[in-house]
């Protein structure tokens, strides 16, 4: 039969497995050969029928989820998630600790500063701002003996422009301390001295200058004592007085 060699290749032709040249040659032959075109047509029909009938089974959604889960929920990934969770927890803890310390510390600090400012204002508003009226430090210092549980030194003010006006008892956070009033060019500055360990609020920063309620404030710790300087004098004057105290 003349078409025998073509028919032997018919499946390859229909499966698209011939070379491009052979495909073109086959195309030309099939168009001109009724026996081969009939055969090709019937084979294409059965191919299509198998194709349709072959797509028969569909997996259930539940089964798909199961397999998907088993290939994605790998131990490695679980471990990674675990680490991520642990890291996130640690980060949250760190943030919480920081906020607690910072906000707590900050609010405690603000509270002390606020009290110092109040004391300063109340003292100046008082008709008797000081209990011991003296410009002599050797008079003022002994006045505190027996009134406060610590001792402190007052600086020599010669040629500094500062004038000691006197002193009084002060209480911050139920802690007794000394308050000294200084004058410089009509501005009054209060100097508070407290025993550091007696103050409930721990002031983390050893030394600090700030502006509280428009007053200039400077604070530091020295020899177990906490000093606060506050007044409406400029920051440079406050700092100068602070330096005199620190020099003691």
């Amino acid at each position: 039969m003349v078409c025998e060699s073509w028919k032997a290749q018919l499946d390859k032709y229909l499966d698209g497995e011939l070379s491009p040249d052979d495909m073109r040659a086959f195309d030309a032959h099939v168009r001109g050969c009724s026996a081969c075109s009939t055969d090709a047509l019937s084979r294409v029909q059965i191919k299509r029928a198998i194709q349709v009938a072959g797509k028969r089974f569909t997996p259930s959604a539940e089964f798909r989820r199961r397999v998907q889960g088993s290939i994605t929920a790998k131990p490695k990934r679980t471990l990674r998630l675990g680490w991520m969770f642990a890291a996130a927890s640690m980060a949250l803890l760190a943030i919480a600790a920081f906020l607690f310390t910072y906000v707590g510390g900050r609010s405690g600090r603000e509270h002390v500063y606020s009290e110092i400012a109040d004391l300063h204002v109340a003292t100046l508003a008082s008709s008797a701002p000081v209990d011991v009226v003296s410009t002599d430090r050797h008079t003022v210092k002994p006045w505190f003996q027996g009134k406060i549980p610590f001792s402190f030194d007052l600086p020599e003010l010669q040629n500094s422009g500062f004038v000691l006006l006197g002193g009084r008892m002060a209480y911050v956070e139920q802690t007794p301390g000394a308050q000294l009033i200084y004058d410089i060019r009509k501005h009054h500055i209060s100097v508070f001295v407290f025993q550091e360990r007696s103050l409930p609020t721990r002031l983390q920063d050893n030394s600090r200058s700030s502006k509280e309620l428009s007053f200039n404030l400077e604070t530091w710790s020295q020899s177990g004592l906490r000093y606060f300087l506050i007044g409406d004098a400029n920051a440079a004057d406050i700092d100068s007085l602070a330096k005199l105290f620190k020099a003691e």
């Binding site: 039969m1 078409c3 025998e4 028919k7 032997a8 499946d11 390859k12 499966d15 698209g16 497995e17 026996a35 009939t38 055969d39 019937s42 084979r43 029909q45 059965i46 191919k47 029928a49 198998i50 194709q51 349709v52 009938a53 072959g54 797509k55 028969r56 089974f57 569909t58 997996p59 089964f63 798909r64 199961r66 397999v67 998907q68 088993s70 290939i71 994605t72 790998k74 490695k76 990934r77 471990l79 990674r80 675990g82 680490w83």
Partner: protein, 193 residues
């Protein structure tokens, strides 16, 4: 510290789009839903474990189908199915020219997926798998050869035998129905219908 696992991601990306097709193929092989699910599940697990040995850029589809098919062959159902298949006479004689009344021509007018499905089910497993990979999965001969681990020549002869067997099975199924229809028509006339 655990590191990211990019292989797991790329495996999922490559494997999950083939899920429906693999399941369909598995069901055709096992002819049973539960066994098909077990086969697919095991295939995915094996493929995932062996994914490091898969070379990216090569034919993933042939690779995972081969795993599925090898898993099937070693299963109880697979062993039973293949033990009944006679050794292939790969160098098969050429097919004869089409007859005037062929299964295809009958299908032309009486296309029925059910009939074709039954006929595919009736094929020995080696023919069935080659035929499905070619017609349903539209794999090239080369891909089928890779999947079934056989030479391309063997793929061609199996396809040829599968198609001929299918035609014979369809012919057996359809022709009696033709006769039954004719008999019923005859009876109908007898009863004056």
């Amino acid at each position: 510290m655990a590191t990211a696992d990019p292989q797991s991601d790329s495996f999922e990306e490559l494997a999950m789009p083939l899920f429906d097709q693999l399941y369909n193929f598995a069901h055709w092989l096992t002819q049973n839903r539960e066994e098909a699910e077990d086969l697919v599940q095991e295939t995915y697990m094996k493929a995932l474990r062996g994914f490091s040995s898969f070379q990216l850029g090569t034919n993933f589809r042939a690779w995972i189908y081969r795993i599925l098919r090898n898993t099937f062959l070693t299963s109880r159902t697979g062993l039973r199915a293949t033990s009944t298949v006679p050794l292939d006479q790969e160098e098969d004689a050429l097919e004869l020219a089409v007859e005037t009344e062929t299964p295809e021509t009958i299908l032309l007018t009486r296309s029925s997926s059910q009939l074709v499905q039954n006929a595919i089910d009736g094929l020995p497993v080696h023919y069935r798998e080659a035929l499905l990979l070619c017609e349903v999965e539209e794999m090239s001969y080369q891909e089928i050869a890779e999947t079934l681990s056989i030479p391309v020549g063997t793929v061609m002869s199996r396809l040829s035998r599968a198609r001929r067997s299918l035609r014979q099975l369809l012919g057996r199924t359809l022709k009696p129905q033709e006769e039954i229809s004719a008999a019923e028509a005859e009876r109908g006339r007898d009863y004056g219908l």
